[in-house]
């Protein structure tokens, strides 16, 4: 009996030491540090769709320019769907990260794919361009630039901005519904971001077809 207890205790201690070692290693060395840079770069490079199917060569050229701009700008950093359960269509630019602004407002990053019901599919070109030029949403709300950095993209030339739009129109559509911003639309001091949440999907995959 005593031997069983000692053996159990040893196993538990050994297991505990192992867990502690794993945890301590993760604490002191991040997974991203351990990943070779080439792997992370390739992930980013291969994230967007191939544009080989775009028939019109001028449209394809504009979309390629837009793909380059979206890649270097890193829209996917906020607009990719986070969390362990990705939508069926994929995560690329399908939205779902959350910003909480200092006054309590919550905004969730939009689905930029051309899905008609939940993405930009039914949104007019000028409505998208207006966001990227002036930060004004479809309902006339001025977005907090600390959440959606529209003031940065206001510096794009109009030609670059429209190339980005062309590219967005050629993404793989993902059905992924994003909730509307919560709390007041007209905010006196909307700008200071209090916290962001980018480990869980704050959108929802629609269940109805």
């Amino acid at each position: 009996m005593k031997r069983v207890l000692v053996a159990t205790a040893l196993v538990l201690v050994a297991g505990g030491v192992l867990v502690a070692a794993v945890v301590a290693r993760r604490y002191y060395a991040l997974a991203s540090d351990a990943t070779p840079p080439e792997v992370l770069v390739a992930l980013e490079r291969d994230a967007g769709p191939s544009l080989a199917d775009v028939r019109d060569p001028a449209e394809r050229a504009r979309a390629e320019r837009g793909k380059y701009l979206v890649a270097i700008t890193g829209c996917s950093g906020c607009h990719d769907t986070p969390g362990p359960r990705p939508p069926a269509g994929g995560t690329y630019l399908a939205g779902g990260g959350e910003f909480r602004v200092r006054d309590g407002t919550t905004v969730v990053t939009r689905n930029l794919t051309p899905d008609a019901a939940t993405g930009l599919g039914a949104v007019a070109d000028e409505d998208v361009l207006r966001v990227l030029r002036s930060g004004v949403a479809r309902d006339g709300r001025l977005m907090a630039y600390r959440a959606m950095p529209w003031a940065v993209y206001a510096s794009w030339t109009e030609e670059d901005r429209r190339a980005v739009l062309t590219y967005l129109r050629h993404l793989a559509p993902v059905a992924h519904r994003i909730p509307d911003p919560l709390a007041a639309a007209e905010i006196a001091d909307p700008l200071a971001i209090e916290e962001t949440h980018f480990s869980t999907d704050h959108g929802a995959t629609p269940t109805a077809p």
């Binding site: 604490y27 770069v41 996917s76 909480r100 109009e158 007209e186 700008l191 980018f198």
Partner: protein
Amino acid sequence: MAALAIALAVHGPTAVTSPRDALADARPARTGAAIYAARCAQCHGGSGRGDGPASALLTPRPRDFTSGNYAIRTTASGSLPTDADLLRTVGEGLPGTAMPAWKPFLSDGELVAVVAYVKRFAPRFATERPTALALGSAVPSSPASIASGRLAYARLGCPACHGDDGAGAAAVATALENAAGRATAATNLTEPWTFRGGAAPRDVYLRLRTGMNGTPMPSFDGAARDDELWDVANYVVSLARKPAWEMNAAELAAHDAREKQRAAEHPVARGRYLVATLRCAFCHTPVRSDGSLVEPLLFAGGQRRRFESLGELVAGNLTADRDTGLGAWSDAEIAAALTRGTRPDGSRLRPYAMPWPSYAQLTPEDLRAVVAYLRTLPPIVNAIPPPRRPAFGVYLWSKLATALWRHDPPEYVYPGNAGSAPLPNDDGAHVPTAEARR
């Protein structure tokens, strides 16, 4: 208010139902203030000085309403705009800038109210009564008019700023400043979608008559006959090139090749554009609690973020200071940070904070341009502390909670400068530069 409402009815973007519409607002001044706070203050600032929280990132800067200097008007040079001018700007926006058209989102009464509110920022509006210039009859465009306009364009000195071709070729005045002392550039006349006041011949003709207050663009009223100014307007309109979104594949290829050539010849300018659109200043500048960037410390780092399970990170100093910035880094070391996420001491940048895998997608030419521009940033002394791991207990709790009940670990952004430089006063007088240190 009645004058404004009538101006809207006569000149405004849409027909207003009745001037009583605007006057019937219970508290028009407060409505204007509420609209301004929600839609205007983020750029133009609460006190109308054009220093709103988003303003540090915008080129051109938002209008400083207190100066009374308005560029797009129908009035004589040096004069204020008319109410109709202001309503047109608010309603239809300013192409080539971030100023949107608010007409789709504001009722006529609201447009009137916000213009009335904006006028209060400049005391001149209380005493001056600007009147629109009388316009001569338009000269329709024709080959003769355009030929005459080309001659007048040269005679009036336009090429000095706008170049022989309207796009800056052989321009001599290339270091232009506006009345606020900021660098500005002559509009590229081959890109009519960037003309602030619009690209119709009448719009161009008006700019020639009125000048653009607060900018180096003078008025040519009296410097040429009225019909000659119309000819110049027709000539300018004829300079328009096709925008990329209307080009065919061959035109796009040629356009791209020209852009690459220009970027190769002017890497700092290309780098300035890239750095502005790659969002660097957004993180690499201390931020205040109202969301504004501390402009005297632009690019000097110091913005602190805390990731609950990953620790605290402070954005690096990108200015050319040798001890605290990038001044002692080689070009290859800066490029390695952007393409491999490594610092010269071998430590790694965190991709979830510094999105270097995105910047690694830059072409080699664009990467060189970014480095070339960063080299030009005036050195600012701001020593940045190294990253800090989270408290072990917080780390354990965060990891367990994420694994067990879908906890979403927050990231916090903190106002203030976590670097060594003291935050300046509003006039930016106390930023220690390298010169001051010596």
